[in-house]
């Protein structure tokens, strides 16, 4: 069933079971987001990046647009002061565990963090939060991919897309808290031999944290 809602004084139509984020996305209204996949129903959305906040009439506080199902006659505001302030703080927290060294990064100019910072008119600094980086800089446990923990924002998209494509996931979160990483922890190199024919995780990674390993002489 089609329903109608108002987003930033614009009237849009959408399917009744979609999320507010998905409705806005289809209507061409941009809401910053990192951890959401277009196929996510409101109930599956991880709502982990805390970037897609919007204000909806009838809700006391800003809510994550990816996790709220649309209702007929909803009035949504995507750019209020409270929303922008939450988004800027969330971005700073993400940047506080991110090595901002864009020039050598393969995601430079295609990076979602850069895009979102630009959209919000915020820099790539993380003040007043302390920058906390991980060691080592590169994790080479995967047979054909390199993982850069200090580029990763732990959105979990690679883990989820891998599970969607293969019914089981070769990538997984490991550790806890500031030490959390995404990684590959199988010792069997054959298990990941097909990874380069799939490449879903590489394509979906918003920051260039997962990259194809180059031969030693190409580095």
């Amino acid at each position: 069933m089609k329903i109608t809602l108002t987003v930033d004084d614009q009237t849009i139509q959408t399917q009744d079971n979609s999320s507010v984020l998905s409705a806005c996305h289809s209507a061409g209204i941009y809401i910053p987001h990192l951890c959401w996949l277009e196929t996510d129903a409101p109930a599956d959305a991880p709502a982990a990046c805390r970037l897609c906040f919007v204000e909806i009439d009838g809700f006391r506080e800003p809510v994550a647009a990816c996790a709220v199902t649309v209702e007929n006659g909803m009035t949504v505001n995507t750019g209020t002061v409270a929303v922008r302030s939450l988004q800027k703080t969330a971005l700073k927290l993400l940047l506080s565990v991110h090595r901002v060294d864009c020039k050598p990064c393969p995601a430079n100019r295609a990076c979602q963090l850069q895009n979102i910072a630009k959209f919000l008119g915020a820099g790539l600094g993380c003040k007043p939060f302390e920058r906390v980086l991980k060691e080592p800089e590169v994790d080479v446990r995967h047979p054909v991919l390199d993982y850069y923990p200090n580029r990763c924002v732990l959105c979990g998209i690679c883990v989820r897309i891998c599970r969607q494509q293969h019914q089981q996931t070769w990538l997984s979160f490991a550790g806890r808290g500031f030490n959390t990483v995404v990684g590959y922890f199988d010792a069997d190199p054959d298990a990941a031999a097909d990874c380069l024919s799939c490449r879903a995780c590489l394509e979906y990674c918003p920051t260039g944290a997962l990259v194809q390993r180059l031969a030693d002489d190409d580095r």
Binding site: Q168, T169, S172, A174, Y184, F185, A187, A191
Partner: protein, 173 residues
């Protein structure tokens, strides 16, 4: 680098394999199986993770992901003399961090790891319950209060000497 399996570990793995073979399947059994494996071996080597992963038909990455979340699971064998350095509030204030660092430097392993001869492993623990003696460290079952960096070397040496003495006496008889 993970330590190679000992002969004892291999025997334990075989027993574990039999126990796992008769266990029920399903994702919900993951943590109970990991607990079973750790009970059998004292830690979770890659081989044990593989047994669990194969039984439940999930990838080992996923098994490792779950296991690494919990402090309960360890990936290095416990040493014969586990060194536990207290990081409770009182010990923290009196420099527990420095004591830990000294043990790490002396034994040339990091916290959570085990020496190649499996004599020592280092762990950080929360309060041991004798804050008046802060900073506190346990070596094996023995508690050492009022720890100082200068005491670390002596403690490690004492354990090693006692081991040599025991070996000499065993050789004599």
């Amino acid at each position: 680098m993970p330590l190679p399996l000992s002969a004892e570990d291999r025997a334990h793995l075989e027993i574990l394999q039999k126990q796992i073979d008769v266990s029920p399947k399903g994702r919900g059994r993951l943590i109970p199986l990991l607990q079973l494996a750790q009970k059998a071996l004292g830690y979770l080597p890659d081989e044990a993770l593989s047994l669990v992963a194969d039984h439940l038909a999930v990838t080992r990455s996923e098994v490792y992901g779950v296991a690494s979340f919990y402090n309960q699971f360890r990936f290095n064998p416990p040493g014969k003399n586990p060194v536990k350095v207290c990081m409770g509030t009182a010990c923290h204030v009196r420099g527990g961090e420095i004591i830990l660092e000294n043990f790490e430097r002396k034994l040339e392993i990091r916290e959570g790891e085990t020496t190649d001869d499996r004599e020592f492993s280092i762990e950080r623990v929360a309060c041991v319950g004798c804050c008046a003696l802060a900073p506190v460290a346990l070596v094996g079952e023995t508690l050492h209060g009022h720890m100082a960096p200068s005491k670390v070397e002596g403690l490690v040496l004492r354990v090693r000497l006692e081991k040599e003495k025991a070996q000499r006496e065993a050789a004599k008889s």
